[in-house]
């Protein structure tokens, strides 16, 4: 899956914003109603709408509760001390942060610190993920539980892990019987897409 498609899914998240215009009737969207908009009064809308209005200078986005330096600091500590993956404050934490910081960095308090923290969290989790994938494959497991991993994190190991397991399976079956079918025919690789997204997503502020 292309990372941009996961970003697309992340854009469904609800977010609070303060419009600077009035629109007194409710807007009936297929995915649900929004409005009425009253200048100065906070209202919850889907992220894609908030970003669109922000780009047109029609609103101010309120920082989501979880996007707070102290809370993220705590989360980072928890993630560091835990052997397992901890529950993230939001299931699309990296994508939402990236989108907000790109479009509405002036509305976010301490944007730079948040950027670094989220990037740290991501790096920590990805390296944890890589080492657990390594252990998993080496242990010859056939089933894995991936609780608390976000969609983007899962996607980052998609080009590698399932394919590797399929390959192992095929080799095993091949050695079991000679009339083995070619199981590796339907793999399209997206390794490059994922990698480029990672490096493009949140460049660490040190760079």
């Amino acid at each position: 899956m292309d990372p941009s498609e996961i970003e697309f899914l992340a854009e469904k998240t609800s977010i609070e914003m303060i419009p600077n215009f009035n629109h007194t009737s409710v807007i009936h969207l297929i995915s649900g109603d929004v409005g009425p908009f009253r200048a100065g009064l906070p209202i919850v809308v889907p992220l894609w709408l908030a970003l669109n209005l922000k780009q047109r200078n029609k609103c101010r986005i309120l920082t989501p509760e979880w996007m707070d330096v102290d809370k993220l600091e705590e989360k980072k500590e928890e993630e560091k001390n835990s052997k397992f993956f901890t529950k993230m404050p939001h299931e699309h934490y990296l994508e939402v942060t990236r989108l907000l910081l790109n479009v509405a960095s002036d509305d976010i308090n301490r944007a730079d610190e948040i950027k670094t923290l989220i990037k740290d969290l991501w790096d920590m989790r990805i390296s944890k993920l890589r080492s657990s994938v390594d252990t998993f494959v080496n242990s010859g497991g056939i089933h894995a539980t991936l609780d608390h991993l976000t969609q983007l994190e899962i996607n980052s190991i998609r080009p590698l892990l399932p394919d590797a397991l399929n390959m192992l399976q095929a080799l095993q079956q091949g050695s079991d019987s000679e009339e083995e079918e070619d199981t590796s025919q339907n793999t399209t690789r997206q390794a490059n897409a994922t990698d480029s997204f990672l490096s493009a997503s949140l460049p660490s502020s040190g760079e």
Binding site: M1, E5, F8, E11, F21, H23, S25, I27, H28, L29, I30, S31, G32, D33, V34, W48, L49, N52, K58, G140, I142, H143, A144, T145, L146, D147, H148, L149, Q151, I154, R158, L161, P162, L165, N166, L168, Q169, Q172, Q173, D176, E181, T183, S184, Q185, N186
Partner: protein
């Protein structure tokens, strides 16, 4: 038309929409939800899944209806762009979903057709137009093979039908989230030749071979990720 007329029209428009809302709003939202899940499942499952053409049709109808409504609004109205934006998003999901299915049909055409033969009309996995597409595709492929093979040395002029029949790898690994607790999922361990019992707790995420959860995907107990 004067300005007053326009705003009158707009109000009527909103009112009619509002009437529909009470009956249709929930369903339109549900339909979108179903399509979105179907899109993700289709993307990640190795085989083609039962079609959702009735939902696709319904959503396309809805889009058409919304579009004709939008055209009645003043173009400066802030709603216009918001409506358009949402429709674009929905259209993206639908096209991506249909394209994904077409890709699978092209890849596994003859295998899929073989399977469809054994299914009743209402249990078919392909929609009517997809079925037509698949049949034509296989036909063209055969014509193409025949014309090319004629030019080959005599000992290479035939292709075993079995070699043309590409099957999806049903055992390929997929990521999934369980919508409800599913117990007794049997995972075959090909390495040690034994079965393992796995329980999928509600909302837990797993990596499993597709074959052991294929039915749960179709009955919506699990969602592929």
């Amino acid at each position: 038309m004067s300005n007053a007329d326009l705003s009158e029209l707009e109000r009527e428009l909103l009112e009619t929409e509002h009437l529909d809302e009470n009956e249709e709003q929930l369903t339109a939202q549900n339909v979108l939800d179903v399509l979105e899940k179907a899109w993700l499942n289709e993307k990640f499952s190795p085989e083609i899944l039962p079609h959702k053409s009735e939902y696709v049709e319904c959503m396309l109808e809805q889009i058409k209806f919304m579009e004709s409504n939008i055209n009645l609004l003043q173009s400066t109205d802030i709603q216009v762009e918001i409506y358009r934006f949402e429709l674009e998003r929905i259209r993206f999901i639908i096209t991506s979903y249909l394209r994904c299915r077409l890709k699978k049909i092209e890849q596994f055409a003859s295998y899929i057709l073989d399977q469809e033969k054994d299914r009743n009309v209402d249990e078919r996995y392909l929609s009517e137009s997809e079925l037509k597409f698949a049949m034509e595709f296989v036909q063209h492929l055969d014509t193409h093979f025949n014309s090319v093979l004629k030019e080959m040395p005599w000992n290479l002029q035939t292709i075993e039908p079995a070699n043309k029949n590409i099957k999806p790898n049903m055992n390929s690994y997929v990521f999934l989230r369980s919508n409800k607790t599913v117990s007794n999922v049997i995972v075959k361990d090909v390495f040690e030749n034994r079965d393992e019992d796995v329980e999928l707790l509600e909302n837990s995420q797993h990596l499993l071979p597709y074959s052991c959860i294929a039915n749960y995907v179709k009955e919506k107990s699990v969602q592929l990720l």
